[in-house]
Symmetry: C2
Subunit: 355 residues, 2 copies
């Protein structure tokens, strides 16, 4: 039976990426050594990281004056690196969920933080809009997609002050106008790679403007200067990122990823809205294409565990919702084929007929 | 031709580790999913990290009251995390090379740093001993093995104040009395795993004694509380660490690793001391068993490039010395078979005969 992995992250990657990574772990490009045991200073790995950086730039149309970094530590580490590098006096944060809340918490250690908007009042089921942004803040921090609650802001953020965006869970799923951001960052373990590498796209000239001393490893300038190799980078996670980036390019780039995301989301939300057993949790206009959250309708609410088991028997893997929302979450990252979504829909229909 | 990888890191790992990692990247334990795409919250990965933590404790005899962590970011990140968590007023550092110097630099951002000893006067070719340790310092920071210079302190450090030791390049190569340390840490990419994971062994009760606010991700208590899973950990690097730990246990544990390290070092240093073309760089009593550094004798000093090429033709890979020392460095980590060292020795003898 074909398995479809709807897990929220670490999550589905193209089969080609898994296979190429496994091969590199045994013998890298036929040179008789595993990439696991090769120096990050070797010309072979230099070519890997160079190509990965170049492909990120190409796929996202990153303008001149920006650097692309691949770092360790996870997006959670960025939550403190962002204020370390950018917060001199005051920062503005939009609170759209657990991760945004964590980002706010770290920023408060470094200066004044204004929560300019929040959707906490309705358990983060919508994306706040039309809020005021203080002109004197150093930056506006936003989270484009909220993995737990299934909300997403599909347009680029417009702001009179520099925008820094956590795109952990929707990077490379659509075209982005990078020039509208001072920094974009995220964990790679959803749309790009296995867990263990963080991507950062940062505008070089925005750095170096805070007066505090920054520990070397937490200063983005350190990593820019050394091309992400100030210290030993996570070699295999970066190699697997390269494989995914090549795959995205071969499939037609972010335009094609965008089309597929829309196709998957249209199909699945239509079924959620039609099926008498299920209903969506996020407000329609802010529905995420990456993390599609739904629960049982009131009439069927006791059947949650049954549906999970029912789906698992049909190869639908990882759809249990986050405890903060309950129900189900079908994460549909770039590598999820439309067949996976169709299999889930068939399963939902079969379940409906059964009851 | 059999290749022997003497690279300084990322470096040789047991073939079984490479193979098991590759298999997990395709299909983890036959469940039909790659470990690359599986949630770190799955019971399958929980079992992996639990076993890895337990094996670290078992192999090193870690006493009660210590935690073992697997983090991202690299040992270089620990250089600032150590003072963040432990430096209240003053810290003592022993400077034994480039990495120790980097650790000193980060600590200076957090308080007074006393460099209690340094071997910089002789390009770090020896390990300083019998230095005075200020009783009022919060901790003494040492580096047990210096990868670049090929020096190693093979005994446990005795100190009237808490000892924190960077064991990046000699962890698990010999028994250690962990109770003599407040913390031991290092990058895993030499004796434990692929690049991308850092190990930390820390005494729980030593934490929480500084008055500063610590960013969540830089606070060891965060990671202890969550069993290294506060955020998404580097899943595959941890899995490959588990494979190496299992391998070490199956081979006979650190006692056997110790015996092998001594055997390799005895053989290779004997040849370096005998062969008229080569000479060692570190003082004899402080010679590292992990990184064996040597240069051409004056008479043959123009033949360095020739020997490198000569060795490469015979399957000896990665012995070019670090630019700070020149010459050659044969890194002999746990996974280096004695046959590799014998092949290098044969190559050195053949080269001597040729000239």
């Amino acid at each position: 039976m074909k398995k479809y992995n709807f897990g929220a992250g670490p999550s589905i990657l193209p089969q080609e990426v898994m296979k190429a990574t496994a091969e590199a772990c045994v013998d890298f490009n036929g040179i008789g050594l595993s990439l696991m045991e090769m120096s990050h200073r070797s010309k072979e790995f230099q070519a890997v990281i160079d190509e990965a950086q170049d492909l990120m730039k190409e796929l996202l149309g990153v303008p001149e004056g920006y650097s692309v970094l691949f770092l360790g530590g996870g997006a959670s580490l960025e939550f403190c690196m962002v204020p370390y590098n950018f917060l001199e006096n005051k920062a503005a944060y939009v609170n759209t969920g657990v991760w945004a809340t964590k980002a706010v918490k770290e920023a408060k250690l470094f200066g004044e933080v204004v929560e300019v908007a929040s959707s906490k009042d309705k358990n983060f089921t919508y994306y706040p809009k039309n809020f005021e942004i203080p002109q004197d803040a150093d930056y506006l921090h936003v989270t484009s997609n909220n993995t737990i609650y299934g909300t997403e802001y599909l347009k680029d953020f417009e702001s009179p002050i520099p925008v820094i965006c956590d795109m952990s869970s929707d990077i490379l799923s659509r075209p982005v106008d990078v020039s509208k951001y001072t920094m974009i960052y995220g964990g790679a373990q959803k749309n790009i790679s296995m867990a263990g590498v963080t991507f950062v796209i940062v505008k070089d000239e925005a750095l170096g403007k805070v007066s505090r001393a920054i520990p070397t490893m937490l200063d983005y300038r350190t990593h820019i200067k050394k091309g992400s190799m100030f210290n030993t980078p996570p070699v295999i996670p970066i190699y697997s990122a390269l494989q995914t980036l090549r795959w995205i390019k071969a499939q037609g780039g972010v335009v094609e990823m965008d089309r597929r995301a829309q196709e998957r989301a249209d199909l699945l939300y239509a079924e959620i809205d039609r099926n008498k057993c299920f209903k969506g949790t996020a407000v329609k206009e802010d529905r995420s294409r990456m993390n599609i959250c739904f629960i049982m309708t009131d009439e069927y609410k006791d059947l949650e565990a049954e549906f999970l088991a029912f789906a698992l028997e049909r190869g639908i893997w990882g759809i249990k919702g986050h405890r903060d929302v309950g129900g189900f979450r079908a994460s549909c990252y770039n590598a999820m084929p439309v067949e996976g979504v169709k299999a889930l829909i068939a399963c939902m229909q079969e379940f409906e007929e059964k009851h």
